[in-house]
Symmetry: C2
Subunit: 132 residues, 2 copies
């Protein structure tokens, strides 16, 4: 019988999750590493990556593979849309309804079994637009 290995709630994993949940920004792994380091100075970046992978796997957090740039992470695992600033790379949530009907439309339009969808908007953030 295939048994998935028991997960342990290590200090590292706990703090990675706490710090990610604490912010509404979408930090990259190394930004989060900096944040976590303030509470756990010795933690290694590889550990942060490994835990983010596991937490994503468990559905606790969300991995954002945003267009061609560095991966970012989101403490909110519910599907929601994002917008990325094409000038500074910043990523924000877009507080609009998720359009689940897109998936039905896609299912009709291709031969795949559709599982999920993501929407990414690209634009200019207020900071960049208003010149800073």
């Amino acid at each position: 019988m295939i048994r998935r290995s028991a997960r342990r709630m290590t200090r590292q994993r706990k703090i990675v999750l706490e710090e990610l949940r604490k912010v509404t920004s979408h930090p990259t792994a190394d930004q989060l590493h900096q944040m976590v380091r303030r509470r756990l100075p010795g933690i290694n970046i590889a550990t942060v990556y490994r835990n983010l992978e596991i937490l994503t796997d468990e559905g606790e957090v969300m991995k954002l593979d945003v267009a061609g740039t560095q991966r970012r992470f989101d403490g909110n695992a519910l599907n929601h849309y994002h917008i990325r600033c094409s000038r500074c790379g910043r990523v924000d949530d877009v507080h609009m309804d998720v359009v689940d009907s897109l998936e039905e439309a896609a299912a009709k339009a291709c031969a795949y079994t559709v599982l999920s969808h993501t929407v990414e908007f690209v634009g200019i953030c207020p900071g960049c637009r208003d010149g800073n």
Copy 2:
């Protein structure tokens, strides 16, 4: 006066574009490199990358920065949606209408100037589903 440098249609650039237009798949840079190499054995991968960058810039082709995987390229620069197989990584077009109203909704829901959007579906392709 700022003058963007004059572009030259080199043999390399021409063939990169032709090969990419020739297929409906969404090759990665190195897949395209292989294809181009059959006609131009000496071409370097860096040249392929540079040309894809320039052609994207000119709106001739589209760069697909698909979720966390290797970058892919699309000979069709008009906005359309894609679906990625979560098992094999293959990417296909989804022949459904582009929902431009998403951008209006996003504009209302955040403070950005919205420029564009992309939708990516994730699913299981027929080949993987039907067991191969």
